[in-house]
């Protein structure tokens, strides 16, 4: 498939997708798509850490929780408009990531995995224990406002959120695409492939890894804002270890390091069980087995990360076709 037809297909696909709310899709299915979109953004942000930098991070729900709670507290207690809390939620999640990640960033893959599970559990326990007297304990926080967008008024209906969430997905993918192809993004991939060699050519691996963590966390914090305002109620149960597992699974199954793979993964893991309601209770069983099978037969994921390609100079191009 040539690049042009590829692009045309993607454009048509995106346009069709954007027209979905107008084509009589019920609010149930719009809610499902919204959920897929939220998970997609979260997974895309996890993809920076897990996919590009290759760090086994299984506590992404912790950063998501920080963002959601910052929005919820600022909105319900201090009456800050929801959309104004968005940058603060990202900032808080980023600072939190900086604090917790800097001492553990040097841990080897599997140990990092266990420690990040520990972090997400600590955050959840802290939320349940009503830390600072602000998080509302195990009942969480209720009555978060709907967002007001300048010039558009208040967003209430599922299709409003459809455009908000998927707009956010699009912006994220666009920005992450730039990030991926930047000098920094290439450095991250290098670290994933061979950390010693990366260090050898002068990449500051520690700071690259740490900043990947922070960028991913900031984005998860933003998503927390959107989640809080869409749900209007948040509680510690929504930010458990299992949420992190689901995100981890989406990235690994879809293809770590490839945005389209991650997007496909979100549809498969979140959307597919909705199509087969009978699968609902056994979906994790199925996906657990799928992880094992994938690792044996296709460890790189459904749509693997593409390596950067360079054009050969003309005289050689014919010779080494």
């Amino acid at each position: 498939m040539s690049d042009k037809t590829r692009q045309a297909l993607i454009t048509v696909g995106v346009l069709l997708f954007l027209a979905l709310p107008g084509m009589g899709l019920g609010s149930y299915w719009l809610d499902v798509l919204n959920q897929v979109g939220l998970y997609a953004v979260l997974s895309l942000s996890l993809n920076i850490i897990l996919g590009h930098a290759g760090m086994f991070h299984m506590g992404h729900a912790a950063f998501f929780a920080v963002g959601a709670y910052v929005t919820a507290i600022l909105n319900t207690v201090y009456h800050v408009p929801v959309m104004a809390t968005l940058p603060l939620a990202g900032l808080a999640a980023g600072v939190f990531a900086l604090l917790v990640a800097s001492p553990i960033i040097h841990l080897r893959g599997d140990y990092l995995l266990v420690v990040t599970i520990g972090i997400v559990e600590i955050v959840r326990i802290a939320l349940i224990n009503n830390v600072f007297g602000l998080t509302g304990g195990s009942n969480g926080i209720v009555g978060i406002q709907r967002p007001d967008l300048p010039g558009l008024g208040r967003l209430t209906a599922p299709w409003h959120f459809f455009y908000l969430i998927w707009g956010f997905v699009a912006i994220s993918m666009f920005m992450f695409e730039y990030l991926e192809n930047s000098r920094y993004g290439r450095a991250l991939k290098f670290i994933r492939e061979d950390v010693v060699a990366a260090e050898g050519v002068g990449i500051n691996t520690a700071s690259c890894k740490l900043s990947a963590f922070v960028i991913g966390a900031i984005w998860a914090g933003f998503t927390g804002t959107i989640y809080a305002t869409q749900m209007r109620t948040i509680s510690p149960g929504s930010f458990s270890y299992w949420e992190s597992v689901v995100l981890f699974m989406i990235v690994i199954l879809g293809g770590r390091g490839n945005q389209w793979g991650v997007l496909l993964g979100s549809f498969l893991v979140i959307g597919l069980p909705e199509l087969f309601r009978g699968l609902q209770s056994s979906r994790m069983l199925f996906f657990g087995a799928a992880l094992v099978v994938m690792m044996i037969f296709r460890p790189q994921g459904l749509i693997p990360s593409r390596n950067r390609r360079y054009k050969l100079p003309q005289p050689y191009a014919d010779k080494y076709k």
Binding site: F56, V114, G118, F248, S281, L285, G288, P299
Partner: protein
């Protein structure tokens, strides 16, 4: 003083259970350098198999309480060991030569699979072990009444650990396991069948884990399908404290963690009990990643 003695005995009993589970992590890690994430769920599987034998089959009705517990424990060990063997065959052996990331993800997938399989078979609600399996007696120690069941759990786990310790250090098979842990290639050249050693480790570890599951059922009276996750993380913490890959270290780490947790719950806060464990885990990995005894886990940067 009262709280102190009660919490010490309680901590040691729970610590013994952690140590039994931690042994599975540490033995597998020793030979394969892999964290078997599904180990905690095999432990939960053991607890549920014990539940089925004791409650659904009413084993105690046929043979009396004491032999019921013995038979149940043995059968659970056999079944858990079998599950561990199958796990190794299906999820780990095909990945022996691929990168460790794949193996870790596969372990994770197996863990998710087991946890949900348990939920689908036995249901998501809490299940109760029959009350009074161990007579509800107390014995007097230093002016305190200590429940007999604590002593029982502690003694049982220490005896099993001693048996394992002698098995590893005094028998030829134990020597083969130790040799494979030190250098697989060299062990193979010495005529050791490393593949069966790995299979054996995957039988012994889950067998001990399954037994620990039955002990948790008897000790607390209640089991839940996702308890493997919390106990697994705690036992893993215990293994790290002792220095993963080190068998006496796992025993020491388990008992130590049990005590830390009991005292933390009593003197700091019960609600933060689980968080204390994870803070200990993070501190150990950051400050002294080799644990109390050996094994370096952090890479230099």
């Amino acid at each position: 003083m009262e709280v102190f003695i009660q919490q010490t005995t309680n901590g040691l009993a729970v610590g013994g259970i952690y140590a039994l589970i931690a042994l599975g992590y540490t033995m597998v890690y020793g030979v394969l350098k892999l964290i078997n994430f599904a180990h905690g769920d095999l432990f939960a599987l053991g607890a549920y198999l014990g539940f089925t034998l004791l409650v659904s089959f009413g084993l105690a009705g046929y043979v009396g309480m004491v032999s019921a517990i013995l038979i149940c424990s043995l059968m659970v060990m056999v079944f858990s060991g079998l599950a561990g063997y199958l796990l190794e065959r299906v999820a780990y052996r095909p990945l022996r030569n691929s990168d460790r990331i794949s193996a870790v993800v596969s372990a994770l997938g197996a863990s998710i699979f087991f946890q949900n399989a348990i939920m689908l078979v036995w249901g998501a609600q809490y299940r109760s072990y029959p009350a009074g399996i161990i007579p509800n007696l107390t014995i007097s120690f230093a002016g305190q009444n200590i429940p007999l069941i604590r002593i029982f759990v502690l003694v049982a786990s220490v005896v099993i650990m001693l048996i394992l310790y002698f098995f590893i250090n005094r028998t030829r098979i134990g020597m083969a396991i130790r040799a494979s842990a030190i250098d697989q290639g060299a062990a193979r050249l010495m005529g050791i069948d490393v593949r069966s050693v790995i299979a054996l480790v995957f039988i012994i570890g889950p067998a001990l884990g399954g037994l620990a599951g039955v002990m948790v059922g008897i000790y607390y009276g209640q089991i839940n399908f996702n308890m493997g996750q919390m106990y697994g993380l705690k036992a893993f913490t215990a293994a790290i404290i002792g220095g993963i890959g080190n068998i006496p270290g796992a025993m020491l780490g388990g008992l130590l963690l049990g005590l830390v947790e009991a005292f933390g719950a009593a003197y700091i806060s019960l609600a933060w009990r689980d968080a204390i464990t994870f803070i200990v885990l993070i501190l150990i990995l950051v400050v002294r990643p080799t644990g109390i005894l050996r094994e370096r886990v952090a890479e230099k940067l």
